[in-house]
Amino acid sequence: MNFPAELKYSKSHEWVKMLDDTTALVGITDYAQSELGDLVFINLPVVGDAVTKEEAFCDVESVKAVSDVVSPLTGVVAEINEALMDEPQMLNESPYEAWIAKVEDITDTEELMDAAAYEAFIQQ
């Protein structure tokens, strides 16, 4: 399993890529996609939505279940990756390219882990 060093990780298995101090891309980790199984649908947030750290902002559906995607950040949705609507399998195939939302005006962030800490966390 792959956990790029330049990303930060949440306990609920999202990754965060900071673009500048108050803007970031958010997606789900390789571990998350592998646990969820083949994804068949994503319910994306809407541009302009306020998101709050540790609260669901999106949901993904696999053949097993629907699962919340939890926001690791407090901010505002600036962009969404609409291509995922037609091809949710991108979340399985390349989880770190398949960003879900770009969040701006970030005012708060939950405690995130680096790649090594996250890898240790999922081993537990």
Partner: protein, 475 residues
């Protein structure tokens, strides 16, 4: 197998129809071409549906331990009663005075189900369980708004809940607050205390819960919610474990839905319409959907409750399902109802005890009507998943248990044998489960390849979900 549209030929039809004795009118002036309806003879039509029926697995075909779905046997006397002309040769717009028997059925079912659940009033309008949840939540909403409290916008749902609970809450306009389960699978009382407040409209709960455990803190749980000003909603999904033994009303619940089609033995799961009757305590009675049945002199009449939330379905719900459920209750009687629940619990514990010999239980404590196995270690040791075991069961004439649910258990298989299975059937099923466990170790590929004897092999469920083809189009 051909679709009905692909059978027959133009002009084929049932030749026994009498000639039309009223003027013919076209229903649509807009339509340019005739509807592409199937044109088949009566013989071909009946053969088509008989062929389809042969390819499915129902309770009448074999063991069906689909957890949380209560696939109990449906006594045929229920069908006899529901087919009586007095219940079928009627019209919903007939004058009340001519359908007094039907009104009496609804009134009697309300009284008996109220006695079983500890509720004061009931509506039979909701078409099935999730519809009942939605209706119950609208009652909670109407109650808070009626007393001028519009600040209650949140419904608390434990993470072990059925997916319909949060979905119904969102449909009713609420925000869902998810609370984690304690390690024993029950409600984390401290997490609940932290979650309630002046914005709490209510709590949705099943008891016994989704992992088949009776939450012993239930009185404390409902009190926490009531003390915060919220109401408590009981999801009747698991009532089969406790019917006639303990009442949701006595546990502190204010509103509940029943799946008459599960607990009270009417066909479901593709076999028939449901009925998601909603019962409530007196404080919610005036908000019930109308019409409801009330006593009037020696008979009955329909009435609209004072602050009714309005209709949630046309007319009176799936009425003949209520007839079947009432037949079941009257057949079992006051002694039989709790006995059915006790046997459901006994059967589940018997199977759990036997399967524990090899399988790992998610919660290794005595269960209620169902239990959950965790196949994570089997997957790790052999590469055989819960899905593979489920497919292997199909080759042995057994309908698989519920899979990958509840979400808090990985590689879950959730087994609910119900009370209507004999010890011999349970033993045969246990033998199959244990045999498949051995097969997973000796020849895992055999299970990856299962099923081999069914009309279709493994279906492409990912393809079906990503690219569903829901409508027939002419070639």
């Amino acid at each position: 197998m051909k679709l009905i549209f692909e059978k027959g030929a133009p002009g084929q039809h049932l030749s026994l129809l009498p000639s039309c004795d009223v003027p013919e009118v076209s229903l649509s002036q807009e339509r340019k071409a005739p509807l592409p309806l199937p044109q088949v003879s009566e013989t071909e039509l009946t053969r088509h549906y008989t062929a389809l029926a042969k390819r499915v697995h129902g309770v009448n075909d074999g063991f069906y331990p689909l957890g949380s779905c209560t696939m109990k046997y449906n006594p045929k006397i229920n069908e006899d009663m529901a087919a009586l002309p007095g219940f079928t040769q009627i019209h919903p717009l007939q004058p009340e005075s001519t359908v007094q028997g039907c009104l009496e059925v609804l009134a009697t079912a309300e009284k008996l189900l109220g006695e079983i659940t500890g509720m004061d009033a009931m509506t039979f309008q909701p078409a099935a369980g999730a519809h009942g949840e939605f209706t119950g939540l609208l009652l909670i909403k109407a109650y808070h708004h009626h007393r001028g409290d519009s600040a209650r916008t949140k419904i608390i749902v434990p993470d072990s809940a059925h997916g319909t609970n949060p979905a119904s809450a969102v449909m009713a306009g609420y925000t869902v607050v998810n609370i984690p389960s304690a390690p024993d699978g029950c409600v984390d009382v401290e997490a609940l205390k932290a979650a309630v407040g002046p914005d709490t409209a209510g709590l949705m709960l099943t008891n016994p819960n989704t992992v088949g455990i009776f939450d012993k803190n239930i009185l404390e749980i409902t009190k926490i919610v009531h003390d915060a000003g919220g109401l408590c909603y009981y999801d009747g999904a698991n009532l089969n474990a406790v019917m006639g033994v303990v009442r949701p009303g006595d546990m502190g619940f204010d509103v509940i839905h029943l799946n008459l089609h599960k607990t009270f033995s009417t066909p479901h799961g593709g076999g028939g319409p449901g009925s998601g009757a909603v019962g409530c305590k007196a404080l919610l009675e005036s908000f019930l959907p109308g019409p409801v049945v009330e006593k009037a002199g020696d008979g009955y009449r329909f009435a609209i409750p004072e602050h009714s939330i309005g209709r949630v379905k046309d007319f009176y719900g799936n009425f003949t399902v209520v007839v079947k459920a009432l037949t079941y209750i009257l057949t079992l009687g006051k002694a039989g109802i709790p006995e059915a629940a006790e046997n459901a619990v006994l059967n589940a514990n018997y199977m759990m005890k036997r399967l524990k010999e090899k399988y790992t239980m998610a919660y290794d404590v005595p269960c209620m009507h169902e239990f959950v196995m965790c196949l994570e270690d089997l997957l790790h040791d052999t590469g055989v998943s819960a899905m593979d075991i489920a497919k292997g069961l199909l080759d042995n004439g057994i309908h698989p248990p519920t899979m990958y649910f509840p979400l808090i258990v990985h590689e879950a298989l959730m087994i609910e044998p119900t009370e209507t299975e004999s010890k011999e059937t349970l033993d045969e099923a246990c033998d199959v489960f244990l045999k498949l466990w051995d097969l997973a170790h000796s020849d895992p590929q055999a299970l990856h390849d299962a099923p081999k004897t069914t009309p279709v092999r493994r279906l492409d469920e990912v393809g079906a979900a990503r690219n569903p083809v829901l409508r027939y189009t002419e070639a």
